[in-house]
């Protein structure tokens, strides 16, 4: 299983990626939607973990572009915002919608459940 994490909070996403790798989950991070779109040109991912609010493209918009490129890719959204609108849209478009700050064990549970979902 390969996981892509995308967030403009560079320290947060770098450390989270390192912690997932330490737990045996093969993970790569991107600091912007543009960078994520470049990475998926050459690497295939099973799951993308996307922040909802990023400069340039929102997590929802990026999810749609990534889904166009790979229809088997599954999604988890992260948010620091927590508005009701975000929650409704995020829950409808991804397997999980997790608030920040994160609990890494819950994230791993969400990753495993998402990976086991049928396409």
């Amino acid at each position: 299983m390969k996981v892509l994490l995308v967030d403009d909070q560079t320290q947060f996403v770098s450390v989270l990626t390192r912690r997932l790798n330490m737990r045996g989950i093969d993970s790569v991070c991107a600091f912007s939607p543009d960078e994520a779109l470049k990475i998926v040109e050459t690497t295939r991912f099973d799951i993308a973990i996307l922040d909802m609010k990023m400069p340039g493209l929102s997590g929802i918009e990026l999810r749609r572009l990534l889904h166009q490129k790979d229809q088997n890719m599954k999604f988890i959204f992260l948010t620091g915002h927590g508005s009701e609108v975000d929650f409704k849209v995020g829950s409808a478009e991804a397997s999980f919608f997790l608030p920040k700050p994160l609990n890494i064990d819950k994230l791993i549970e969400a990753i495993n459940e998402t990976a086991s979902e049928k396409p």
Binding site: D8, Q9, Q11, F12, V15, L16, R18, R19, M22, K53, M54, P55, G56, S58, G80, H81, G82, S83, P99, K100, P101, L102, I104
Partner: protein
Amino acid sequence: MEKFIELLFEEGLSFFGQINASISHELKNILATVSETSGLISDLIEVSENGKPLDIQAIKNSSREIGEEIQRGFLTIKQMNTFAHSVDNSFGEITLTDTIDLVINLSQFLSYASQVEFFKQESSPVKVFTCPFLLQDLLYQAISFAYKLIGHKGVVRISLVNEEKETTIVFENMHLDEEKPFPEARMQKIAEVLGITMATLPNRTGFFIKIPLTIKTMYKRGEK
């Protein structure tokens, strides 16, 4: 005065909510980073307890990053506090450059924020007698409007032109389409109450906000 109170309820509360939401979003991001970084330190210690050498450099880097995030948190809370106190007086004298600085800082929490270059004049700072809260609201809407036109990779240029009875804030380095209404209805409502005029620059390369140095109100300088 009735129009002013109506505006405070209609627009002011919405602005207050907007700023609080963006600050809480910023604070959650900071806490998320601190939480992950301290989690990494725990992970590194756990790994070393299982026989691997302790990665001292990673622990040093993590500790430095936590310190930096705490500073970011303090700065955010300082801005939140300054903003919260802007409603202490309905009317009062403000230093315009300080208000613009605060609005730029608050607006940088927006996910679509551009970079900003604010050219301050060397001469003595401009004092404006106005409703500080509504002026902040207007400037925040104006700068958000500019960000949407420019995009997150662009730069908004802001400068001041001071005259005897008024001062003009100029927002440049963008293009306003002919179809794009300016000012937007929300900005226009506040501008009318504060006696402010707004218009696009020639060639629609930006816009300006002309602020009277003293707003005509039932209040006088020195009164709360």
